[in-house]
């Protein structure tokens, strides 16, 4: 008898065709696990290797004295800030009080330059004629010169000469400048009296301010000198140390390379390899001496700075004609004690600094996660501080959620419970369609349109009282947050709507039968019953927002610094950088295996972990709270 129900078909390696087909499909499905695993693997692999390199880099900056020099640099930078505020205040005040005079002097100066540039030939002719003392030629040369000058002056564009428009409302002064310029003798360089008068008036009027300004500007000269001196020393120590570290590897590479080539090239390579000296240990102790010794100079320079700048600021005028100048000087006065305090602190800390303290492993981690600077394109030193990127991402996400959550939950409630059938048929697909708008398009809109709208309208009186308004930067966190809110809306809306839909009909029937209104039913029964779904929706919205790249890259302003918390809620109007933005911006320019490359992978790993956590949390919430219905 034939066996009726026996399996048929050929077998391969002990499996029949059906098993192979199943295995094939299963393999493809399993690919998703493999991919997720690979993503984790690659991120972790590159990211973890950041820490040893970072440790090395930190050690190098310490032993080369860069760390110490950074104290000096920071002091000098903060000082420079005050100087530039002072200068701004000075010129604001100058413009307010002696705008016309300044316009006269500047415009005349521009004419001077134009005459020297464009009437050079005529000037040479005049000079020659004067030397030769031939009256006829002199007359001719003078005529030619005057004609040239007259042409220049008459053809000159008023807006270009008076580029700041200081004389725009004073035609008389403008005419006098023109006249003075027309009769100006560029060979003798005689400045007309009324220009000189204006200049004197300016100098005299601003004398006390000028003096204070000079005092402030000069107070930091020793510190700045010290800075440039120390920067050079530290940089050279570091370069040499790196060369030393890599010496043996380079030598090996050269020797290996020499094997592969013949003749002169070989000789050259061998010679170069011979030049490389391999030391047992780099003599940091020897090299660092000038920097250690400079501490005395440092203290002295700071003492000078302190004394002079306090005096200078004390001498700044207290009455102003210009409002911005008054504000700026007020700011300087407010900053002064902080600045002095920071100086003292810095001096104290730098006094305790030692080049040979052991830097432990933990600091290579903490300096990354809590560092407030991210500087990668500087010759001086690369600093990887993650905190500004993280805060930027978080603030932008919070702005986005603050806008998107009420909007989308409100819309979901409206569409699901309150609207008419007819409204539902177009609102739902319309909101879902937002998801299809690529983020680059929204970013484009932010950079081309929304930024300008914010800039223009934020100063109008009915909203300018809002925190951070009026906005001064076109690209900022608020702009990015608003666009990201729009990206989060479809996610939150759709999931919320689903959650509301999943609330059993009997709940709303029971509530309505008890005499509750539609809204009371929504408030007290539907929303509480759907709350887990709503929460999950918000979380997934957050996940979408925090991982979004193009909008923040284009619109957030890309300024890597901690937000100025002193602005209160106004921080939302400041520019910032983000975790996603930094990867997108810098990844294309790094070569693989460098510290910078790994730092970006570490940022990626953090981002990945955050979004994974959010995702898992959302799933857990749905699972745990969602099964009562």
């Amino acid at each position: 008898m034939a066996k009726h129900f026996e399996r048929k078909g050929r077998r391969l390696l002990g499996f029949n065709l059906q098993s192979w087909i199943k295995g094939f499909f299963g393999g493809n499905a399993g690919l998703s696990i493999v991919i997720l695993f690979l993503i984790c693997l690659f991120l972790v692999l590159e990211a973890v290797r950041f820490f040893p390199s970072h440790h090395q880099e930190l050690k190098l900056s310490q032993k080369s004295g860069q760390e110490y020099v950074d104290y000096v640099i920071r002091e000098a930078d903060e000082y420079q800030n005050l100087v530039s505020f002072t200068n701004q205040a000075y010129f604001q005040e100058l413009d307010a009080r002696f705008g016309i005079e300044r316009g006269v002097v500047d415009s005349f100066g521009v004419f001077q330059g134009m005459i020297e540039d464009d009437a050079g030939d005529e000037m040479d002719g005049l000079e020659e004629a004067r030397d030769e003392e031939d009256p006829a030629a002199l007359k001719e040369a003078e005529a030619a010169y005057q004609a040239a000058v007259a042409r220049i002056v008459n053809e000159a564009d008023r807006k270009m000469v008076d580029s700041f428009g200081r004389l725009a409302e004073n035609d008389e002064a403008w005419r006098s400048v023109k006249e003075a310029a027309s009769s100006y003798d560029a060979v003798e360089e005689e400045i007309p009296a009324f220009v000189e008068e204006a200049e004197t008036k300016m100098t005299e009027g601003m004398a006390s301010f000028e003096e204070a300004k000079a005092l402030i500007s000069s107070s930091g000269v020793p510190l700045k000198d010290l800075r440039s001196k120390l920067v050079k020393i530290a940089a050279s120590i570091k370069d040499d140390a790196i060369a030393d570290l890599t010496a043996s590897a380079r030598k090996e590479a050269l020797l290996e390379g020499a094997e592969k080539v013949e003749g002169e090239a070989r000789e050259a390579k061998l010679a170069e390899a011979g030049k490389i000296v391999i030391q047992d240990e780099f003599p940091f102790a020897e090299r660092i001496k000038p920097i250690v010794a400079a501490h005395g100079d440092h203290v002295a320079a700071v003492a000078t700075l302190r004394e002079k700048i306090q005096e200078g600021i004390g001498r700044l005028p207290s009455e102003f004609s210009s409002e911005p100048a008054e504000k700026l000087v007020g700011k300087i006065r407010k900053l002064e004690p902080k600045f002095i305090e920071a100086l003292d602190e810095s001096i104290e800390e730098s006094g305790q600094w030692k080049w040979d303290d052991e830097i432990d492993w933990v600091s290579s981690v903490t300096k990354f996660f809590f560092g407030k600077d991210w500087t990668t394109n500087s010759e001086w030193r690369q600093v990887y501080g993650f905190l500004p990127l993280f805060t930027g991402s978080i603030i932008i996400s919070l702005i986005a959620l603050c806008i998107a959550v009420p909007l989308s939950i409100g819309a979901a409630i409206y569409v699901n419970r309150l609207s008419t059938k007819w409204e539902q048929t177009f609102i739902k697909p319309a909101i879902e369609m937002i998801q299809a708008i690529p983020s680059i398009v929204l970013g484009f809109f932010g950079i081309m349109v929304l930024g300008n709208i914010l800039l223009e309208y934020s100063s109008s009186p009915w909203i300018s009282w809002l925190p951070g308004f009026p906005i001064t930067e076109r690209l900022n966190m608020l702009n990015a947050g608003m666009l990201l809110a729009l990206m989060a809306v479809p996610t939150i809306f759709t999931l919320c709507e689903d959650a509301l839909n999943n609330v059993p009909r009997s709940f709303s029937e029971a509530s309505l039968a008890l005499g509750a209104s539609k809204l009371q039913t929504v408030n007290k029964v539907i929303v509480p019953a759907a709350i887990s779904g709503i929460l999950a929706a918000v979380l997934l919205g957050l996940g979408r927002v925090i991982g979004e790249t193009m909008v923040v890259l284009l619109v957030a302003g890309n300024k890597i610094s901690m937000p100025e918390w002193s602005a209160g809620l106004g921080v939302i109007a400041q520019p910032s950088h983000t975790m996603t933005g930094i990867i997108a911006q810098e990844m294309g320019e790094v070569s693989s295996g460098t510290l910078h490359y790994r730092a970006l992978f570490l940022v990626g790993l953090v981002l990945f972990t955050i979004s994974l956590t959010i995702n898992v949390a959302a799933q857990k919430i749905i699972k745990r709270l969602g099964n009562h219905a």
Binding site: A510, L512, L514, H628
Partner: protein, 272 residues
């Protein structure tokens, strides 16, 4: 709080003389599809106050639809429409333009076929109706909750766990909780839509006992497909068939000596 006192204080509620019908349905036709086909046709009946009235009939005969007309739960269906006739409750045409369905439902409560407590605590479930009326006073709420639960014969079983979830109760308890929730707002009328169909016989018996007790305070209209239940709990019975009211009389008469052949066939179990 003035508007809430109207409903919480029974004395202030509009009253009808005991001999007058509390619900008067006059030539009612009702449609679920904007009047194209009538689910209920020309129904007229008067329901006396303080009695239990049962609606019986085979599935799809319109008895639940009529019940849902009485507190305008059918408003939730966009295409529902009363095509002719009127329903008066407490002398008021409930489909008149100046009647607010929400106010009506405060006077005409409803218990559903499938027990449907909210995913809240027992206490909050019972207090819900009062809370939506704006009552926040803890004392009033406590008292109302206890009273209602006692009336629903549930107090003894749940008094120690008022704060635990209502979903932890058994099916019968959940249905009694729903009844407590309904009577907590002190409606004049309680509509019950096959309240026992999802319960086992023991739980059913308890609900039936409860209905008998509630009869003292409320007018009850109950839809049931269980004829024994109708005989046990109701004073009057209405028999519906294919959207029409066939016969309406004292329960003993309907079940003992019906005047219409169809009714007799149905109650004796010959169809349905």
């Amino acid at each position: 709080m003035t508007e809430t006192s109207v409903t919480t204080d029974p004395a202030a509620a509009p009253s009808v003389a005991s001999n007058e019908p509390i619900i008067a349905i006059d030539d009612l036709s009702f449609s679920y599809d904007l009047g194209k086909t009538n689910t209920l046709r020309n129904i007229s009946l008067e329901i006396p106050a303080g009695k239990v009235t049962a609606f019986i009939g085979p599935s799809g005969c319109g008895k639940s639809t009529l019940l849902r007309c009485l507190n305008r739960m059918n408003d939730l269906v966009d295409t529902a429409k009363v095509t002719t006739g009127r329903i008066s409750i407490l002398g008021q045409d409930i489909n008149a333009p100046d009647v607010e369905a929400i106010e009506l439902r405060k006077h005409v409560g409803m218990v559903f076929q499938k027990y449907n407590p909210f995913p809240k605590s027992i206490y909050e479930n019972v207090a819900y109706g009062l809370r939506v009326q704006g009552i926040k006073n803890k004392g009033i709420l406590d008292q109302a909750v206890e009273e209602s639960l006692q009336k629903a014969a549930l107090w003894g079983e749940v008094k120690d766990r008022l704060d635990s979830s209502a979903l932890g109760l058994s099916g019968g308890q959940q249905q009694r909780l729903c009844i407590a929730r309904t009577i907590a707002v002190k409606p004049r009328i309680v509509l019950m839509d096959e309240p026992c169909s999802a319960l086992d016989p023991i739980a059913t018996a308890r609900i039936e006992e409860l209905i008998a007790e509630l009869q003292e305070d409320f007018t009850i209209v109950i839809v049931t497909h269980n004829m024994q239940q109708a005989t046990r709990v109701s004073d009057r019975t209405a028999f519906f068939y294919l959207g029409e009211l066939i016969e309406y009389d004292e329960t003993q008469i309907i079940f003992g000596n019906p005047s219409i052949k169809q009714t007799e066939d149905y109650v004796s179990g010959r169809f349905g």
